[in-house]
Point group: C2
């Protein structure tokens, strides 16, 4: 399994991915799921991938080949808008899947791949898109500033509570690490090292690209701080009416009935 | 969709459920998914349900009928252990599903139901079990003190970070409400009112049973406190190395390269 996350805010974009890959539980390896393309000084793209590893690698290789031999073919070099780049990558994905589809179906294996592409082409705003296995795509927006692929559910609640279009990029990076580590805690098929890329709008190169190892100081410190923060937040939650001393005293004096009958819902 | 949660700790048990029921997005109604049986002074059971509503209602009706007419049939009255009660409920579930299976299959509808049963029979410890649609069951343990059915993923990370076998029951109740409201924020097919039941070991009756409305003061206060707590925890997370003023100063003086190349993972 995989968990990849793209965040698109006012100042730029943040890309995050885990790196655990498995074909069954006994063949667990580590692959980067983050692919950066900077084919010309006026454009930068980051592609995140979830799904069949062979399909992913072939898609990435074809994208690179089309940059290397650009004459007469669509490529990340020829795209004038981000949506054209997403459309092109979606077509490559469909082409690779269809090539192997009948053999994979016979083996009962899915060759599908979901992708996130984010980036910027000079003269255009930066943007983030999710490319479905079928090749079509949707775009992140101000009110939905993130897109996820893979094992998306465990890491979503914290995004829904904290993320906004105005969040600074370094905070987005911390948030992405929290979202990834929450997913890892609940699903062992998602795991570190985690990779992060940070892109500031109009720079056309990454501001930061880094990798966080499971036993690295920063990740251990972050996870400890987050768990402590949650436990602290939890201890500050409002008490139930029946926990108050007045209530307990009244209960003992039989001035009120017990809570089960008071708030009985039947 | 549905989200139900059972928690089994040292002091007793906590049961929680949402109440949104839908058959398609345009027939959304509200049903209780929490069923309490106290058929004799020496035993109490709570059953939570997720899945086909018709199957659920028939299962619950049969369980009640078998209590009302106990002669010669298995029932919640005749069970000597919790596992016997779970086994009995699993058999009722299978029987109801099989009765309607062929008609449902023709309509492409699933008649499956997942159940959680928790309770205590005098002389036995309290316990919590998940009954699969196939009728078999697993039990909660000290190291896995909770069981979930329905839309389980969004509400799991907070349980994994906070819950332990020693947590007091009122804290378990708050934790269950946080887990439910996180799920509702991320999936609109799970929604309030939320129901809670609290059982203290060896009491053979519920200590508390209550219902939290969406616009109720307590739920609004709890959600606000939790969101504020998360944002506070988030703001206390450790900063990245590249955010320090020393680092930024060194970067400006060209004493170090930019973070992208320093921590480049390629």
């Amino acid at each position: 399994m995989t968990y990849c996350l793209g965040i698109c805010v006012k100042d730029g974009m943040l890309f995050a991915s885990d790196s655990r890959t498995n074909a069954g539980v006994d063949y667990v390896t580590s692959y980067s799921k983050m692919h950066v393309f900077n084919p010309a000084p006026d454009r930068l793209f980051v592609i995140l991938s979830a799904g069949n590893l062979a399909t992913t690698q072939e898609i990435i290789n074809i994208i690179q080949r089309d940059i290397d031999y650009p004459s007469g073919v669509d490529s990340l070099l020829s795209a004038r808008y981000l949506f054209e780049a997403a459309d092109y990558v979606g077509r490559v994905s469909q082409q690779v899947q269809q090539q192997h589809n009948s053999a994979l179906q016979q083996a009962g294996v899915s060759g599908e791949v979901s992708l996130i592409i984010g980036g910027q082409i000079q003269g255009q705003p930066h943007g983030l898109m999710l490319i479905y296995p079928q090749g079509n795509h949707i775009e992140a927006s101000k009110s939905t500033p993130y897109l996820q692929i893979g094992e998306t559910k465990y890491g979503k609640p914290v995004l829904d509570r904290v993320l906004s279009h105005d969040l600074p990029l370094n905070d987005c990076a911390r948030l992405a690490l929290v979202s990834l580590s929450s997913t890892t805690m609940s699903n062992i098929t998602v795991g570190p090292p985690y990779e992060l890329s940070l892109y500031r709008t109009d720079e056309f190169q990454l501001a930061s690209r880094c990798k966080f190892e499971e036993q690295g100081d920063y990740l251990i410190e972050l996870q400890q701080a987050w768990t402590n923060g949650l436990i602290q937040s939890f201890s500050n939650l409002p008490r139930f009416e029946w926990e108050s001393t007045e209530y307990q005293a009244a209960l003992e004096l039989n001035q009120i009935e017990n809570p089960a009958s008071i708030e009985n819902i039947d």
